[in-house]
Amino acid sequence: MKFIINRQKLISGLQDVMKAISSRTVVPILTGVKLEAAKEGITLTGSDSDITIKYFIPAVEEFVDKKTDEADEEMDNKKINAEIIQEGSIVLHAKYFPDIIRKLPEETVEIEMDPQLKVAIRSGKALFHLNGQDPDEYPLLPELQTEDSFELSTNTLKALIKQTVFAVATMESRPILTGVQIKLLDNKLTFSATDSHRLAMQEIPVDDAQTEITSLVIPGKSLNELNKILTDNDEKIEISVTNNQILFRTENLYFLSRLLDGKYPETSRLIPEESKTALQIKTKELLHTIDRASLLAKDDHNNVVRLTTNDNNSAEISSNSPEVGTVTEEIGIQSMEGEDLKISFSSKYMMDALKAIDFDEVKIEFTGAMRPFIIRPVNGAEILQLILPIRTY
């Protein structure tokens, strides 16, 4: 293997790939980053066996620049990132390799491997020899099946993750709940997450999905990682599923995650179909009121706050912790239907849910003080937050 590569390109690729590599892995080969040189470009791979990130650096990149398109000089709208002299692959230790590349003096780096798996890294007058590991030892990643895939824009995916992933369980007692369930049926994509005290769900339409997913569960940790690594933009991201992994693919970045094994509980039955009391409230106002009320409840494990409806289109949020003191605050409601209600719930869950809803007004539907209630944005977007109340005497 031998190639010459633009150092900046390599650094930015390594930065993404390094996010998947953990120093505390049990499988020794996973402490390394895999480099593959092929005619089309260089592929970097990093993995901690739960998630795998691949980054592709094309040898020649074409600019989509309108101005130069008109000129017929073809050479101008191409940029050469790397020159591959000899194909091959190697695994290099992730503790040293990225630091070496970052601190090299010149703009380009030459990387050459000898048959004893030793790698020479040359840039300007600096020369490193790094011991590599056999690329055959690296985990084999599933072949990418592009037929069974669907597309989303990156922003939509990021929003989906943000609105659901906070609700996954952190306790390991029911491991399947530490993931987000994904369904794709009738061109509708559903993300749902629950820790058995609350549920966050969002549904969006997907155009021309060529596949159906009855149920699969992605670990919440992987989705958080994915959210971090994706930049905010409108680029398409392709999602495909193999039997034990899910792949998110943007132009140069491949993000693979293992799935959680097991049966996800049926959540649709939890959602009450009718309501006895329905309130419409300004989201921000409610969020701030609950935030204030929770100040006194904080030491308490449940952070309990209580909501009481009044006659004159207002409600009262109160909290009481006997050793500290009490707080009450009146909040205006836009409209109210149904019977009066007193209900207690966890302020933390409520705030998480309200933060996830990015709309001005929410509608909260109650079915009695002991039954779960649901929060939705008023203008009907398919976000649903469900919270179980707390029994107080």
């Binding site: 049990v26 499988v27 020794p28 080969i29 996973l30 066996s49 739960d50 055959d136 030892e137 690296y138 985990p139 084999l140 990643l141 599933p142 390991e172 491991p175 399947i176 530490t178 670990p219 039997n243 034990n244 992994q245 293992r258 799935l259 959680l260 094994d261 097991g262």
Partner: protein, 329 residues
């Protein structure tokens, strides 16, 4: 032991049980392989794992050359997990990681293998944590537990595994192998009583530490026979400085056990079984004269008790002090 046919030579019964179940596609979800050191537990575990993953099997035998087999050998296969005691025991942290691993799908395929070495070092809590997995195995998961001390495995785990007993190696065969390696008979007999691994035996033979350990055992018995009052001092001045690590202390007691066994054998005229002493040894005769059969048996029990105490983390100096007091006539 790299192939099933080699396993069948050394462990005919265990080899047949496992190969038959592979042949019939009835690999159990959990195995508990118990046998002494050097009886081939790890070799069998790795053969089972290779049998499940190898892409180029010749009948039952894995090829040992494909990417799967090579990675299982080097510990780099992402779906084969080895749990090795971290220090004295398997830590709760390791079991937590394993539990997390149970809930994930496999990385390369849906098959997963967990090999827990020295499963007897699982703490009670850790053992109870893996019970759940043994109770409800997910599809295509195989757990293999290896142990030298099968009685330390809690019954709730044992009852959920298929137990494979490995028979102890034949000491005569082992002695012959050692002598083929060029070891004198006297040493070969002693080594065969101490270990089942040829490499280890050869290493010990040329180890200065081991040679002086043997000398110390002789000296201790000499003291006990001639000047019992000095034995206590001897422990502090010579024994403890030499046997520092716990494994070394255990080894010292092992050798001592053999020596006392020899004295008993000499008493009852079973001179062919002697391991530590030569039959015409002066010390052996004097020891046999100064200790009665009953007190020798008491001493053997005291040594076993001391070994047990070391395992239970009693302070080694105290263990040895108590032992010498007990060994006095």
């Amino acid at each position: 032991m790299k192939t099933w046919s080699e396993v069948a030579e050394v462990q005919p019964l265990a080899g047949r049980i496992i190969t038959n179940s592979i042949k019939k596609g009835r690999v159990s979800h959990a195995y508990l392989i118990q046998g002494e050191r050097g009886t081939g537990k790890e070799a069998i575990a790795s053969l089972i794992a290779k049998g499940l993953f190898c892409t180029d099997k010749d009948g039952l035998e894995p090829c040992h050359t494909c990417q799967m087999c090579k990675r299982i050998d080097s510990g780099n296969h992402p779906d084969v997990h080895w749990i090795v005691p971290d220090g004295q025991s398997i830590k709760i942290e390791q079991i937590k990681n394993l539990q997390k691993e149970f809930t994930y799908s496999g990385l390369e395929s849906n098959k997963k293998v967990y090999i827990i070495k020295a499963a007897d070092t699982l703490t009670l809590n850790a053992a109870n944590r893996i019970l759940k997995f043994l109770e409800e195995p997910s599809r295509q998961t195989t757990a293999i537990m290896l142990t030298e001390n099968s009685s330390a495995i809690i019954p709730t785990i044992r009852s959920r595994c298929q137990v494979i007993d490995l028979q102890p190696l034949n000491p005569k065969k082992f002695q012959k192998k050692l002598m083929d390696e060029g070891m004198p008979e006297q040493h070969a007999v002693l080594m065969s009583a101490l270990t089942n691994s040829i490499d280890e035996a050869v290493a010990w033979k040329s180890d200065d530490w081991f040679a002086s350990a043997l000398k110390l055992v002789v000296q201790l018995i000499e003291k006990l026979v001639n000047y019992p009052e000095d034995a206590y001092l001897f422990i502090h001045s010579s024994w403890m400085p030499h046997f520092k690590e716990r494994s070394e202390q255990e080894q010292g007691l092992d050798v001592m056990l053999l020596a006392w066994k020899d004295i008993l054998y000499y008493h009852i005229g079973n001179e062919e079984q002697l391991v530590f002493f030569r039959a015409n040894s002066d010390l052996l005769q004097r020891a046999a004269l100064s200790f009665s059969q009953e007190s020798i048996i008491d001493n053997l029990q005291a040594i076993l008790q001391a070994k047990r105490k070391l395992k239970q983390n009693v302070h080694p100096t105290l263990v040895m002090e108590q032992l010498t007091l007990q060994l006095k006539r």
